[in-house]
Symmetry: C2
Amino acid sequence: MYMESQTTHLRELLQEIAHLNAAIALLNWDQEVFMSPGSAQARANTLASLSARHHELVIATVLQNEVTRLEGLPDGALDARETALVREIAHDLRLAVKLPTEFVARITEATSRGQMVWQAARAANDFNQFAPVLEEIIALNREKAEYLGFTNSPYDALLDTFETGLTSSEVTKVFTPLKERLIPLLKQIAARTTAKRSDLEGNFSKESQLQLSRDVATAMGYSFDHGRLDLSTHPFSTSFHPTDARITTRVDEQDFWVCLGASMHETGHALYEQGLPAADFGSPLGEAASTGIHESQSRSWENIIGRSKPFWEHWYPELQRRYPEPFAHINLDQFLPALNEVRPSFIRVEADEVSYNLHIILRAELERDLIEGTLNVADLPKAWNAKFKEFFGLDVPSDALGVLQDVHWSCGYFGYFPTYALGNLYSAQLWAAVRRDIPTIDTSIAKADYAPFLGWMREHIHRYGRQYRPAELLTRATGESLNPEYFTAYLQERYGMSASTE
Amino acid sequence: MYMESQTTHLRELLQEIAHLNAAIALLNWDQEVFMSPGSAQARANTLASLSARHHELVIATVLQNEVTRLEGLPDGALDARETALVREIAHDLRLAVKLPTEFVARITEATSRGQMVWQAARAANDFNQFAPVLEEIIALNREKAEYLGFTNSPYDALLDTFETGLTSSEVTKVFTPLKERLIPLLKQIAARTTAKRSDLEGNFSKESQLQLSRDVATAMGYSFDHGRLDLSTHPFSTSFHPTDARITTRVDEQDFWVCLGASMHETGHALYEQGLPAADFGSPLGEAASTGIHESQSRSWENIIGRSKPFWEHWYPELQRRYPEPFAHINLDQFLPALNEVRPSFIRVEADEVSYNLHIILRAELERDLIEGTLNVADLPKAWNAKFKEFFGLDVPSDALGVLQDVHWSCGYFGYFPTYALGNLYSAQLWAAVRRDIPTIDTSIAKADYAPFLGWMREHIHRYGRQYRPAELLTRATGESLNPEYFTAYLQERYGMSASTE
């Protein structure tokens, strides 16, 4: 695939690591999708062992030396992509060597175990079951931040692992004005909202919903010959290679959008993975640019397309055909506002687009405080509920509908949530660029022809891998650096709030 | 689990290898059960990479040195189990170091790819699609035999990897008289057989059959909290740890026994894996004694129990309840001979107990000739069909019903088939010992109480792992070395042929 070049040996070394990584990803996927509960401790041990081995390969002298050699080459010896490859892998290695292998094994074992404990605690609506392992995982993340190093906050070190260069103060700088704008906007839009999602409830069999998800994913351009769709408690996507990028979803037999929305979201992630250059498998050039950019892809498909009128101009007659009850009695102009009902509610993954970022900001503030040590695990449910009241005006009735709802902290993903909000901001900015570049995009979408949209993403985002850092990638794609105005403008347009109504 | 001892460090090293092995086993399981076809080449590459890494760990100096140190300890420094552990791991390492790592990667890639090619070739009934990769795999097995070394036949070296010490001439010594006895016995029993398996045909839904398999497996003692049952083209069992031992089965909606028989067979394997000592995970003491002993467990459950009158005294009323059509009209005395119809047929995994070993002997003779180079792949279908006519008196109508039916050669398992026949011989000898030790065993089985039978196997086979070599394990369990007479006596008793009728 690649001619023999200066980076051939480096690529070979990285491929070996990537194969081990693929095995780890499969072990994780299996744990969420198919593994029996009694296998949990053995799986945690296996993941810990393989992660330690993976880490040993990443910090191996042979790899370090090869990167040092390539960094020392004269200007012009490497082309632009090779230069980016060396820059990114050098960045990764500089961080990786700071983590002791035994620490990698410890945090992997604790988070694999943590996920199983969280599942049981959530099912039992019992935060106390989860608290000890959560404390353990937070302590491990603080330890990780110490190893990685930081100037202002240990949270900085963790954020950087998901979105290179992102800091706690930058998060605050973006999130605080956003929050101040969203809290009243949510209140205003919710007050005007009369349509109800519950008007769309019916009795939709699991199998028929999975079939609808498969049909929509196929139309979006997802290749089922290079992936699968399964069920899991918490929908996710994972990839072992661009030819094996898998998605999971979940089903609510009363509310069809729970499944379809999650499926479109995860398909958006998987389309990015299937669109990465296979010839670069294992190297940063074959990896997604960042967690935030990844989320921009999933949110584009789930929300910007999946909640739009053009999308449903094609799919609503199909939905009516598949589910005459209740949709035969509801027309498209009634359906759309009900699907997009804006109303404060408890569960993030079921939230409307206006509420969603507030859910994220709530989590980001709490996890920052947990990592900085200003909030104790014992006080977390109370803190969650207080903030929830402040943001949404609602009293959280149970921890299952509150602090226990998300898998992320049990996986040890502290610093991940903010990238969800960034993904929303990116997606709105990318959408503005798509509309500018492809004036007929709404017409295509109304015909279920997603090739122009996917093609634009393939061209401006997917094919680059990590050749550009997220900020540069966004600027190259849209002609502008991150501008949260695109997101609020998008909300105002979609929810019929003129700027003056604000 | 273990006190600090001389073998603690060795056990730790071996556990790291076992975790990698568990990941490889999951990659293989997923390939057969869930992976999409378009992911095949990436999976083959991942398996090749991990197998090479696994091999590097096995032949690592640190492990070699530790084994050498333990072998040099004075008598009495190790207890009986530790002594066996060192003996077995030393045996494994002496073989492993003979295989170059790049060879391990090559044969793994070819056989992972080979399985996907075989699947397509079998579906298309086209041997020519399969021939090139089969030639490649045979050449790799000959190369493997050269590395491992042998005195008489390269086939010896391969047999030894499945059943330590087994040789081609020993296989011939057991199989030739067995074949000469089975060919006429099959003819005689078939001639007297009037009942037909096809009398039991009906319309049995896939889901209800899987439920029956789950219910029977649970009754057998299989823990679904430590494993799973899924569908695959070729039923198999695999284990990642005693707490995660999985089985697959297949379904024929007309013939219920295809699924249940396969499920009981694979459950028999999985019960062995679930019964291995978890504290010895990773060491030979935590591994099955041999492929043949493994097969003795599966065949015991599938045939000796699963085809017996006591078993069906409990389950037949249940079968009648679940499937009134056709079983309401068939009584147990009509059902049993129909289930056990003895009749030459094409597919090994559907064969009756009398035919079965002839299917194996046919394959063993052919694979020996392929490995010894006296048979070419191009001539294989013709040779298969000629031998089939000789053994069974039947003309093979298609390669899908002939040479393409089994997955084994595509996996590179040359030397594996003979252990199936050994498993049958072991199972009959073990059964005679069970009946002697537990005179009430038939009564227990008639009450679906399998605890005495499973308990006997746990006590005499499972808990030892590889503490004893197969021959010694059999002798300890039954008081006698391998005696094929038990098997023919069992057939004669079950199929009502008195010794004099022969």
